[in-house]
Amino acid sequence: MNESKTSREKVADKLYIVIRIAILVSVVFLFIPGLNPARISGLINRNMSLFTTGLSYSTLIDGFGRSFKKGWVDPSTMKLVYASALCMCLGIAAQAAGGCMSVGNRKFKRLGNWITLIGSVVEVACMSGIYIAYGQIAQTPKPKKVQPIFPDGFWVIMIIGIVLIVLSLIQVFLLPKAAKDDEYEMESKYKLFLMFMPFLALVGVFSYLPLWGWRYAFFDYKVGDTLSMDKFVGFKWFLELVKNPATVRDIVRVLKNTLAMSALGILTSWLPMAFAIFLSEMKNLKFRRFVQVFTTVPNFISWVLVYAIAFCIFSTDGFVSSIMVNLGIWDQGVNMLMSGEHTWIKMLAWGLWKGIGWSAIIYIAAISGIDRQLYEAATVDGAGRFQRMWHITVPGLIPTFCVLLLMSVANILSNGMDQYLVFENATNTDAIMVLDLYVYKLGIGKGSISLTTVISMLKSIVSVALLFLANGVSKLIRGESIV
């Protein structure tokens, strides 16, 4: 790596920044269906990206059965689109590979540059193929049926392709020739980064890209529409939350349920600790193990299965009903799941049934970490069982308890939706509707995307604020952060 840089190389390095950004944009184009430059007809599925277009011909022509039969579109046109898209995928892949090589040594750079150049030429050539196909499809005798569209992203990607060709050609002259005995080499810092990059891309796509969806909060969006500026409504949906009486009523009710159930959860958060303390008071190790193993089982079944369990125990012809009927206490079976009473308490009980054994494990481990000699000393001093529990075990567990408590305070708005979704029915829906479930029902069930995006957005922001707050409190009290 002892290549001293000439001024030409420095210019080349600067040009590389532009080239890499251009390549990145091309790669993004490859995967976003909304920007698909090969979507030249309304009959092509809206969800197809350039990548999927080039991947599967059968999905591409899914909507064209009738048009082929009636001769509105010639199959050769679609084959041209498919071949072009496929080659474009390869071209963009070549660009990306060339871009990656550009962080290597001189020899790598030169090779990478040629590969980018070839890839870009292929890409631009394929764009012309798609242009020709569009020309053919635009002359269809039935434009209403075939819906020719000039794809939005076409010119953008065309320009990027041409820019890449020009820049790569310049680089050919700027990049110095590698010495004959040079090997392909790359600094390990870039090697490592290139290996990390695909995973970072996944994080970007699945964790950061959804933030782009926040724009729906500012539009009048209905499922299936495309967003356009004339649907921009500013803060209308935010105001809806505080102005529309029906929505306000819903939100207040939902927030009441959410906070109540979270509060019940927090109020009972000492139960796993008590569970662990009393469990460790048992002398019989085998029984202790037995209890520990079997009380953690419910944690590993899904909420659907918990509901199935509830169903077989508490429904009209379930265990409790059949026992009561057989004993003659009840005349007929009662479906206890179909009652709107004490919903919060019931949900809390199911949560405890599922989670207490599991949550206790962390405390059990902490108890085994407490110095035995403390107990012995206390016993010698005449402390009874409860005094030892209260003055030695509990203080030993408080730090763990505090961390978990702060975390649950930070998560006060997110109590998940699985549990409430499976237990919800017509009789208890008023008391069981928590925020997550409400958002799901309203957004995905009823298609009110804009309003629910606003709620999702506010919830995310409040949650992060709460987390920071909890973290700050933790730092203040314990001198340690929890995140």
């Binding site: 990390f196 995973f199 996944l202 009393f278 079944i301 429904s315 057989n326 957004g443």
Partner: protein, 321 residues
């Protein structure tokens, strides 16, 4: 492991001490009452955790007529496996079973591979922009855009109604990556350095040294990942709306259970229920139990063997916190 003489002596002294004190402190009546209550409470709660599974099971293997009469409560009668055989004919279910199994295997395998590899990469201080990219990754644990933006994103990417929606988003799991990273950092650096002296590349070091040495942690995250994949049903519910052939087993179970509860809601509210609907609902009850059993069996089978890993898993999380 050989114990030193000192340790042995300590151990002996402690045993003697304990022996002496056991004799000294006899159980008082208060202790006995406490113990009885303690054992009883834990015994009952454990029973409450096991019994439902047992009840479910005996009702699926007993004579259906007896089950419908509601007399199978503690002891199975008229043992048969007809219900399980009947399930084989429900094509929805076998399909859902295959979907669940494949997503569990493929999703878990890719997640573990990725977590292992990325966990290794982020321990490398020399990576370009390591700190920044690591934060970029970890922040996503604490912040998300929300349910609806996530859903719209999946739709925009064209992943809805495809099998890949179960797999690809789960490949990079930041929390598991942190666990693996912490574990790898505890492996002596000399092992890796000596290999690198011999000219091994990062990939070789990962394959030959890091991967085999991190097996305990990888097993732990694999088990958690597998249970999570097997249990998840909201993704199936939201993303597969127009692809019923891709429903997971949990989703199917949810649908079957709901059919029953709708019917009983109708009965409760005094609505007219036809004789035929009632009858099919009743024998449907056994079918529902059987489907639940099929859904829970993989967990119950795997659980006893994997208990150790589960507990290790929660402890690892605690250490990190």
């Amino acid at each position: 492991m050989a114990k030193t003489a000192q340790e042995k002596a300590d151990l002996k002294a402690e045993k003697l001490y304990q022996k002496k004190h056991k004799k000294k402190f006899k159980a008082t009546p208060g202790d006995i009452v406490f113990n009885i209550i303690n054992y009883a409470v834990f015994g009952l709660f454990t029973l409450a955790c096991i019994f439902p599974f047992y009840y479910l099971f005996i009702n699926t293997i007993s004579d259906n007529d007896l089950v419908i009469k509601g007399v199978i409560n503690f002891i199975p009668r008229g043992l048969n496996l007809d219900n399980y055989k009947a399930l084989l004919n429900v094509s929805d279910l076998s399909n859902a079973f295959i979907v669940s199994i494949s997503r569990t295997i493929l999703g878990t395998a890719l997640m573990v591979l990725a977590s292992g590899f990325v966990g290794y990469l982020v321990t490398k201080q020399e990576m370009w922009g390591r700190k920044f990219w690591y934060r970029f990754l970890v922040i996503t644990m604490y912040f998300n855009a929300g349910l609806i933006p996530w859903f719209m994103n999946m739709q925009m990417l064209g992943l809805t109604n495809t099998f890949w929606a179960y797999i690809i988003p789960g490949i990079v799991a930041p929390y598991n990556i942190i666990l693996v990273k912490t574990y790898i950092e505890s492996i002596p650096a000399e092992l890796e350095e000596s290999a690198q002296m011999d000219g091994a590349t990062y990939i070789t070091v990962f394959r030959k040294i890091i991967w085999p040495l991190s097996k305990p942690i990888l097993a732990t995250i694999a088990i958690f990942g597998a249970v999570g994949n097997w249990n998840s049903f909201t993704d199936s519910l939201m993303l597969m709306q127009s692809a019923p052939e891709l429903y997971t087993l949990q989703h199917r179970l949810y649908i079957y259970l709901n059919q029953a509860s709708n019917l009983s809601a109708l009965m409760e509210s005094g609505g007219q229920v036809s004789e035929a609907a009632l009858k099919s609902a009743l024998s449907g009850k056994v079918i529902k139990y059987t489907i639940s059993m099929v859904t829970v069996i993989p967990i119950l089978i795997v659980y006893p063997f994997m208990q150790r890993y589960f507990e290790e898993g929660i402890m690892l999380g605690a250490v990190k916190g």
